[in-house]
Amino acid sequence: MNKKTVLLTIQAVLCALTAAVLIGSDLSIYLTGLRARAENPMANIYTVEAITSKAVFVLPVFLAAIAVTIINAVLGIRDDSQDKIVTGIDIGKNVADERTKESVSRVRLVVLVLAIVFIVIGIFNGSMGDVFIKASKICTECIGLG
């Protein structure tokens, strides 16, 4: 194996390992927290202590991944196969069609008019107000805090 393959493989393993450790730590905190909550319904599932204790496992792998990324970037190592042509896929054909061009222009105009009309109606029917309300008072569940 050449140097490039080795470094790219190390990087891939470190990235996968970081993700695995993150997921494992998260699940571990969650399961431990669930047990604590079964005994005391007021107990938090996620605590600063639990997160800190798991960070000890995540940080070394994460820092190693960053270090290898920097080394690779400095050495200019990358998987250049992504710059090569892809084979084995279907490719559509570009065909000139004047009628399509004309109809696109017409549809575009209709959509533009509709969009403006809808926005104006929305301002008056309260749907713009709804957008503002939901964006200003956030629901905890909706951002994954529930």
Partner: protein, 574 residues
């Protein structure tokens, strides 16, 4: 030197310097999240600009966000179709789609930029194939299930707003919202549960996938990209093909990292990288008739347009820079929402604080909510308390007589007796005024939606539950029945107030009547007086529990179970 290591003919900077597209991506990410002080304070922006949907994928719960996420807004609009049609969001999506299509994904989506940066991490990469192309249709299934079906089903048939994609999948919500807020709001940790665990794992998996596979989220999961993709053929701005020059060699498609079949189809993000690849000079990036990126072949370059572009370019850059500066200054220093709304009681050692709400009277009357000052002088309270306590006990007994059997009546009376006994023993708290656990909550008086009065000073001797909620908040609506149940279970010993956020476009009274809840409800006034008193967060729901002395024993954001409510009641009653 190893032959496989990239050539050193061009300098490192030349190879790695940001492209124009990357600069535009960074610019738009900064513009969408111009409220930089939000990251430092852990608070979201609540200025009027939040009524405007930004084109790209940017969670509105991000502390920096100054606009609304179009996808979150679509789901919320679909969930409230029975109230009114979300014409505004529909119009905005049509407008963005018609003008830009998926150019938004390629040029001005912060999440797209993050995915591209992750893909820069040097690892072996997965190339596109028939499999990835098939997988790219997954996002349409996600639209149907999570963006349409779940919000419509829960919103219309269950009356609970549930934005399915935001709640179960969205990595932007977890990354920008949850991860952006928690470091500055450690109390939010208390509400993290299964949904966070699930969404965190999804976020990590998507992040990992993006490292190995170009724009994995964008290609396989993003419903917003799928929606804009439907407009791609219509979009005014994008990569256009000169069919007279194109010889259908397919180089553009074969080099493209997205799952396109032709340039400009529903998968194309108009990143314009194919323009340089085209040997025929058939591709260019256009905005209507104006060419933004000229064909690669010099013979097809329009010299006049290049000249024009060189003239207009600096002007356009200046306007863009000015817009960013204005957004930064306005959203961080000048916006009216940044100013304190009322004389909110910060935690202090003053035990005889009063709230001046005179300025609020006008708006309160408009809403049928009357907030007035209440004196905290201990002697007065004791007198009022004793008199009020008798009334409460009687009322509790009366209502119980009418509704439940004799054993329940005796239980309620016994509880009321205990409460009465305890009330006589209650000493006025000497804790400092504030909203934190151990503080005594600032007194206030409000007229509830049913016309009754709620005076916090008169609740001494009772356990007090204050719940901050809104009709448009799913977890709030789910937990309120537990409060209602608890209120009736310990009637006479509990004082309860459910405070609806001041922002609403629907009839809260009718909503409460429909649900059959009969605890005291109030809508907070324009200045958010009650929210300020209890340190109401910008996230809902929030529960505040006071013991018999009026001291805060619990003040947390997040939904609450009936089990926890019972534990809190017992703790407060001790």
């Amino acid at each position: 030197m190893d032959n496989n290591i990239s050539s050193t003919r061009i300098s490192w900077w030349e190879a790695h310097k940001p492209t124009k597209r990357r600069i535009i991506q960074l610019y738009s990410a900064l513009l969408y999240n111009a409220h930089l002080r939000g990251f430092a304070e852990g608070k979201i922006f609540t200025g009027k600009s939040k009524a405007i949907c930004v084109p790209g994928f940017n969670c509105y719960s991000c502390p920096g966000a100054i606009g609304a996420c179009p996808l979150g807004s679509i789901q919320n609009a679909l969930g409230s179709l029975n109230k009114h049609i979300g014409f505004y969001v529909l119009g905005v999506i049509l407008l963005y789609g018609m003008l830009l299509g998926r150019t938004i994904c390629g040029w001005i989506c912060p999440l797209g930029m993050i995915q591209e940066l992750l893909h820069k991490i040097p690892t072996p990469k997965l190339k596109k194939s028939r499999f990835t192309r098939t997988l790219s249709y997954l996002k349409y299934i996600i639209i149907v299930i999570f963006v349409v079906a779940i919000p419509v089903y829960y919103g219309i048939f269950q009356g609970i707003p549930v934005p399915g994609f935001c709640k179960y999948i969205c990595p932007a919500g977890t990354f920008e919202g949850a991860m952006g807020m928690i470091p500055k709001n450690l109390s939010f940790l208390s509400m993290l549960g299964p949904i966070f665990t699930q969404k965190f794992i999804i976020m990590v998996i998507i992040g990992l996938a993006c490292i190995f596979c170009y724009r994995s989220f964008c290609r396989f999961l993003c419903p917003l990209g799928a929606i804009y993709g439907m407009f791609n053929k219509l979009a005014v701005i994008g990569v256009k093909i000169d069919t007279d020059r194109c010889n259908n060699c397919g180089v553009c498609v074969r080099f493209c990292k997205m799952d396109v079949k032709t340039v400009g189809d529903h998968e194309c993000i108009h990143c314009a990288q194919c323009v340089a690849r085209c040997h025929q000079g058939a591709l260019s990036m256009k905005a209507g008739k104006f060419t933004l990126i000229q064909p690669s072949k010099e013979e097809f370059v329009n010299a006049e347009e290049v000249k024009k572009f060189k003239k207009i370019g600096p002007v356009f850059c200046f306007i863009a820079a000015l817009a960013l500066v204005v957004a930064l200054v306005w959203t961080n220093f000048l916006d009216p929402s940044l100013k304190p709304k009322s004389a909110a009681p910060a935690p202090s050692s003053n035990t005889e604080a009063t709230v001046s709400n005179e300025a609020n009277d006008e708006s309160d009357e408009d809403k049928g909510t009357e907030l007035s000052n209440s004196d905290q002088e201990a002697d007065n309270n004791e007198n009022t308390e004793t008199a009020k306590k008798d009334d409460d006990t009687d009322t509790a007994s009366d209502s119980t007589d009418a509704e439940v059997d004799n054993s329940d009546v005796s239980d309620a009376n016994a509880e009321a007796d205990i409460s009465e006994d305890t009330a006589t023993e209650i000493e006025e708290s000497t804790a400092p005024i504030g909203y934190e656990v151990g503080n005594k909550l600032q007194d206030f008086e409000v007229t509830c939606l049913d016309g009754s009065s709620f005076n916090l000073a008169e609740t001494r001797g009772k356990v007090v539950f204050i719940n901050l909620w809104a009709t448009y908040c799913g977890p709030c609506v789910k937990e309120l029945p537990h409060f209602n149940e608890l209120y009736h279970e310990h009637e006479g010993d509990i004082a309860m107030l459910a405070v609806h956020a001041n922002l609403t476009t629907e009839d809260v009274n009718a909503y409460i009547a429909e649900k059959g809840w009969d605890i005291p409800f109030v809508i907070d006034d324009e200045n958010e007086t009650i929210f300020e008193i209890v340190n109401g967060s910008l996230a809902l729901p929030q529960t505040i529990v006071l013991n018999r002395k009026g001291e805060v024993i619990y003040n947390q954001v997040g939904s609450i179970t009936s089990e926890v409510l019972e534990v809190l009641y017992k703790q407060a009653a001790e």
